[in-house]
Amino acid sequence: MSPKGPEIARCASLGFLLAAGGVLVYALGSAFTYTATHPGPACSNPPALAADPPQWIVVLCCLAAFAAGHLSGRWQQVDPQHLPAAMPAAVTEAEQRQRGRQVLVIEGLLLVFLIEILALLVFEVVALSSGRWPITLYVRCAYNAAGWPTTLGAASVTFLLGRWLWLPRRSSAETGS
């Protein structure tokens, strides 16, 4: 690969990430705008299963986005000094504090993730027990009312999952070998 190759790959990785973020902003903005300007749901009750595009296309788009997310994650370039194997045992107290903060951030993100899962489950339980729509029906309603934007939104979410959760092979720098 030419010296410019990794830089181009890094820019592509950033571009894909920005695009996914843009789609999420658009989806969120659309949902808020529609809800603020319309009194009822955008679809029938219960929402129909069939819409445009067909579900198999949505599934294929999501699978492709998941693989693209993994690929874009592999295109990220890390400065060698930030690789774990390149970091010597904490030398100074300041470095120890900095690493402690980094660990705290990761554990904080994990905590937020778990709290959100819990909140989603609580919403689901409360909704079903009080005769309200579960989250599934809102997703289906969005798909029914705006098929392609919803497909793009779902693809963005799976792209991010592929980028963050599809573990790359352990590199020699990480193993320290």
Partner: protein, 73 residues
């Protein structure tokens, strides 16, 4: 027949869920831009350190995604 929930509740849930994703996108962008270890590497490191916990979380997350997104009936 089930009825839609109040708009405010739905928007709150959608806002928090997508807002968190957006926050993570911003963090990942900043980490990639500054050539630091991206979020995926942190997740991978954590999952390798705690494989059983990671497996349990993956099962829960996968179940939730299937539950929310995969409607056939």
């Amino acid at each position: 027949m089930l009825r839609p929930a109040p708009d405010a509740a739905v928007l709150w849930v959608a806002g928090v869920a997508l807002g968190t994703l957006l926050m993570l996108v911003g963090a990942d962008f900043a980490l990639t831009w500054t050539r630091r270890l991206p979020i995926g590497s942190w997740v991978a490191g954590w999952a390798r350190r705690y494989p059983l916990f990671a497996l349990a979380l993956a099962l829960v997350a996968g179940g939730l995604i299937g539950h929310f997104f995969f409607a056939t009936g």
